[in-house]
Symmetry: C2
Subunit: 84 residues, 2 copies
């Protein structure tokens, strides 16, 4: 299980597309707020492993490539703790 | 833009994993309620085109393969209209 406080620090790079609280203003992008931590971590690993393509997948892969497993857990914990 | 009423009919096959209102009980699966219609339609097309792998992607591809573009728009409109 991740640390939401540590995740909030790492989330600096996510906010331009996903919003500071994980609620997007661009309707083509997913809201992250209130998703379960497990699903959020799963998705980040999927991008990192190259299991997603099309859309913004290459952008996501670039962002996620520098994240450790712990960073991913922390980010997932942070966005899971936010209100939709 | 899709028709949420028509989408609700089609959603019969989605509810066992994603819940009747798009709020999941299985933490590894994504909530759909309150996502933007555009993102939901994008995701369904991504599964249909085989742009996602790993996790439940093969299951999703199988479900989505029988859906028309209109079905996808309707499903997206339905889940976008649900409350997180």
């Amino acid at each position: 299980k991740g640390d939401p406080k540590a995740g909030e620090q790492k989330a600096m790079m996510c906010v331009s597309c996903h919003g500071a609280t994980g609620n997007v203003s661009v309707p083509l992008y997913p809201n992250l707020a209130g998703q379960h931590e497990e699903y959020l971590a799963h998705s980040l690993h999927a991008y990192k492993k190259g299991e997603r393509s099309g859309g913004q997948a290459e952008v996501m892969k670039a962002y996620v490539s520098g994240l450790s497993d712990e960073d991913i857990d922390n980010l997932a914990a942070y966005y899971a703790s936010q209100k939709p």
